[in-house]
């Protein structure tokens, strides 16, 4: 057992900055409905500064973002029950008067272009036109029109009442790591 003590391979600084970003909950790994429910509950346990309104928004934003990773991540694994589920990252941190949600997962570059465009459209619209955009996309989806549908991101922007912050980092020639961040205020909402 007496082995020469290697330099610590893991970096303390990684932990150090992890600690200082006042992270409440962070998770990387497989995401399915069970994991979503448990992580969701944990998030609600530690986001107590905002009132019920904030908690309700946090839960809704979490459910949509986590579902996106579960269903659309290009990195996946097989769980014990044989189901193949997406792998992704989720970080909830607290800064000042708001909570920040970041989710991230590997995506195929081919699929990511429509998502980026959708986010840019979402960020360009005021609330009423965003609601109209949701109605239109929902109707198109119900009529089975192509590449309509994913109204999750629209819902996230409406619920959070703040723009979607997108970041794309290339992983290899045909894949990148897509991260979506959104802020939820602890108390000042449209009609609070």
């Amino acid at each position: 057992m007496v082995k020469k003590k290697e330099k610590y391979d893991f970096s303390l600084y990684e932990y150090h900055n992890l600690m200082n970003q006042n992270i409440l909950v962070s998770y990387k790994g497989p995401i399915d409905e069970r994991i979503m429910t448990v992580i969701g509950e944990n998030i609600l346990l530690v986001t107590n500064d905002g009132g019920d309104k904030a908690k309700n928004k946090i839960f809704k934003v979490f459910m949509e973002l986590a579902q996106n990773v579960w269903l659309y991540s290009a990195e996946s694994c097989k769980l014990e029950n044989g189901k193949s589920v997406g792998l992704g990252t989720l970080v909830v941190s607290e800064c000042g008067n708001s909570y920040t949600f970041v989710t991230g997962n590997v995506v195929n570059n081919a699929d990511v272009v429509p998502v980026i465009e959708k986010c840019e459209t979402i960020n360009s619209l005021d609330r009423d036109s965003l609601r109209e955009y949701r109605r239109e996309q929902r109707r198109l989806a119900n009529e089975g029109k192509p590449n309509s549908g994913n109204i999750g991101l629209i819902q996230v922007a409406l619920t959070a009442e703040s723009p979607l912050d997108i970041e794309l980092t290339p992983v290899n020639d045909d894949e990148s790591f897509l991260s979506i961040a959104v802020k939820i205020s602890k108390d000042n909402f449209r009609n609070s």
Partner: protein
């Protein structure tokens, strides 16, 4: 499936699974399930990581200074757990807040553990196991078990936090 994920993981940050937050029994189940799901190696190594995870994660929920009530109101430890995959080993690390007084005996135990041959370490485990838990240092054989299971030294680090408590990190390599 195995190689696809592994190189993707290397490209991102080598992390197979990581969690920061409240360590209650439900989270432990999820992380355990995640370990079995994402560790793309043979059963023997996965079982080692699993055993180490159960020991270290339970340490966090019991001993972390930072605590939060879980859904049924019991106070649970808050901490961090990280499993990184490299070509020939997994790196398993945990971190949680602590005070200097409570961490000194643990650091001494780690140094003690790292200085022993495997035979000596087994003897140390037998000795500690038969000491009543109340006796100082007696009882907690979790770290000894981790060293034996990993068959590698226990690396540790202590980082001062703003609130002049400390953040204590334990990390161990598990060869593939």
């Amino acid at each position: 499936m195995e190689s696809v994920n592994t190189n993707k993981r290397r490209a991102t940050d080598n992390v197979c699974i990581s969690y920061t937050g409240l360590f209650d029994s439900e989270i432990l189940t999820i992380l355990a399930q995640g370990i079995e799901g994402t560790l793309t190696s043979n059963d023997k190594v996965t079982k080692k990581v699993f055993k180490i995870f159960l020991e270290l994660a339970q340490n966090i929920s019991q001993y972390s200074l930072e605590r939060e009530p879980n859904s049924s109101g019991e106070s649970m430890g808050v901490g961090t757990m990280l499993i990184k995959e490299y070509d020939d080993y997994f790196q398993f690390s945990t971190g949680n807040k602590t005070t200097m007084e409570s961490i000194i005996p643990v650091i001494e135990k780690c140094d003690n553990i790292n200085s022993m041959t495997r035979e000596k370490l087994r003897e140390y485990r037998r000795l500690q196991r038969n000491m009543p838990a109340s006796q100082k240092g007696g009882g907690n054989i979790g770290l000894i078990q981790v060293a034996l299971t990993a068959d590698n030294p226990i690396e540790y680090g202590v980082v001062k936090c703003e609130d002049n408590n400390y953040f204590y990190i334990v990390s161990v390599k598990i060869n593939k």
